[in-house]
């Protein structure tokens, strides 16, 4: 089985993020870039499927500026077999539709039976990439999996969210996105770190994928940010020390706010 795990480099989850005032895109220079934490679950799940299905390979795929290669290297140290990095200046500001176009072309280029993604990216947080990729590739998708099994050519997925649970079946090839509760991503071992140095990492340009640069990037986006602003600080805050009446004071506050 050939498994492609998609990886995005994002500003550190724990950092404050902001939009670049010039073009309303994410200011990626304002915070350290790291592998998206949610994608590490996708890499881990891909590795587990590889380990339970003999003869499988895991390819990690990422799109982004040159430094994004760091996130792909991280995935190689975890145990992925090869990495593919789509990098092209024309990609800056690409929206989800353009991103899905590029990733789908790259996935077809690489070859796949199963594509695994994180549930969403921690920066844009749209959570639509699995569906968009599946639509572009013309294959089924199951998103937000809390359990993934491959039985022959059938993908079986459990989805458990705050709103309920579902069992989903789809024939391969397919696209799946996984929730963070699905597994515990491994830390790269020393051996893994050493082995990663000799693993293949290739780069692809838009020309390599046969994509017209004018169909991607900020100018081709199907959505545009009209304006953005920092949320104004919340109104009046009241912080009190509990002097034996803390609970009653909260109740009083809730009553005055008509929340009781």
């Amino acid at each position: 089985m050939r498994i492609v795990a998609c990886v995005k480099q994002v500003p550190d989850t724990w950092s404050e993020k902001r939009l670049d005032p010039a073009d309303q895109t994410l200011d990626r220079a304002a915070a350290d870039g790291v592998i998206d934490e949610l994608d590490t679950y996708a890499v881990e799940e891909a590795l587990r499927l590889k380990e339970s299905h003999e003869g499988s390979t895991v390819v990690v795929l990422g799109m982004g500026p040159v430094p994004a290669a760091e996130s792909l290297r991280k995935a190689l140290t975890m145990g992925a077999d090869e990495a593919v990095h789509v990098v092209d200046d024309a990609l800056h500001g690409s929206d989800a539709l353009a991103t899905s176009l590029v990733l789908a072309k790259a996935i077809e280029h690489v070859g796949y039976d199963l594509v695994v993604l994180g549930s969403e990216s921690t920066d844009a947080r749209m959570g639509v990439m699995a569906a968009m990729l599946a639509e572009r590739l013309g294959v089924p998708q199951a998103s937000l999996a809390s359990k993934v099994e491959v039985d022959g050519s059938m993908l079986r997925v459990q989805r458990t969210t705050a709103n309920g649970q579902a069992s989903i079946e789809a024939p391969l090839p397919a696209v799946v996105s996984v929730l963070e509760k699905i597994n515990e991503p491994r830390y790269p071992s020393f051996k893994g770190i050493m082995a990663a140095k000799s693993k293949p990492m290739s780069t692809l340009s838009l020309a390599d994928l046969g994509i017209d640069p004018s169909s991607v990037g900020l100018a081709a986006a199907a959505t545009v940010v009209v304006d953005s602003m920092q949320r104004p600080p919340r109104g009046e805050r009241t912080i009190v020390n509990d002097e034996g009446d803390g609970g009653m004071r909260i109740a009083e506050f809730l009553a005055t706010q008509k929340l009781l």
Binding site: R18, L97, A131, M132, E135, L155, N163, A166, A222, R237
Partner: protein, 317 residues
Amino acid sequence: MAEVLVLADVVDGAVGKPTFELLTIANRLGSPVAIVAGNASSEIVEKLGSYGASTVLTSDDEVLASVTAGVVTLLESVVAARSPIAVLLASTAQGKEIAGRLGVRLDAGVLTDAVDVVASDGGVVVEQSVFGGSTVVHARATRGVPIITVRPNSVTPVESPVSPAVEAVSVAVEGQHAKVISQAAAAVGGRPGLTEASVVVAGGRGVGAAEKFALIEELADVLSAAVGASRAATDAGWYPHAAQVGQTGVTVAPQLYIACGISGAIQHRAGMQTAKTIVAINKDAEAPIFELADFGVVGDLHVVVPQLIDEIRKRKG
């Protein structure tokens, strides 16, 4: 009047509150047309009409209930036939799956997790709350019909009763698809769903143990609230992962959020910052959660919460 297409979310034969919220928004933008992917009973039609759906489109093809890709094809044909000014869906797993596929199919702009949608000269504009609620963004689609998913609880449903015209639509579902084999709503012990609840009571590291979450649940129950938890609490195994509020968990935007023993790391704030009113109880006066709180008590939640529960019970008689 311009039509706004709303995908109704029918679970176990009933329409949920998120759909009424979508209809309320659609009613402000134009004439709401609700589409039910599956059988629509007269009760469902009446319910949709009570929130302003002037037309209800039904498709009694049972396969649509289990095949998301079929719903996409249905929406595609309805958009082509009726040229609505926007398509509104709930920001749920299924809503986003459908929105993503439909966006590619129609090469149209997809806007997710809107907290408000308004009409403007250039078409429909959505308000989104990004980067953990620290930034407010207004965005619109530049081509195609805007496909918008709206976060539950973003607006208060407003009744606007009409008698809907009912029209049957049909679609051919072909090819290989993912199929939902079984489905069940979350067993939440009578509590509302986390994303739909008007009030959320959440516990964090300060709760101290799995069995102490009973206190958080008790407070939730006197307020008819859902129970959430911080990542520290779910990682410790004190409460199920499904209840985790935060950047890597569920995003909630209730009327009232009560954070008990939660420090308020950015990870957590990302999931609850847009709550209308925030109350925090924490032992540490320096905890960042107090920067967000409209009302905060520096104290031990194991003392404050029982008193709060008693006081609410007294006031509610």
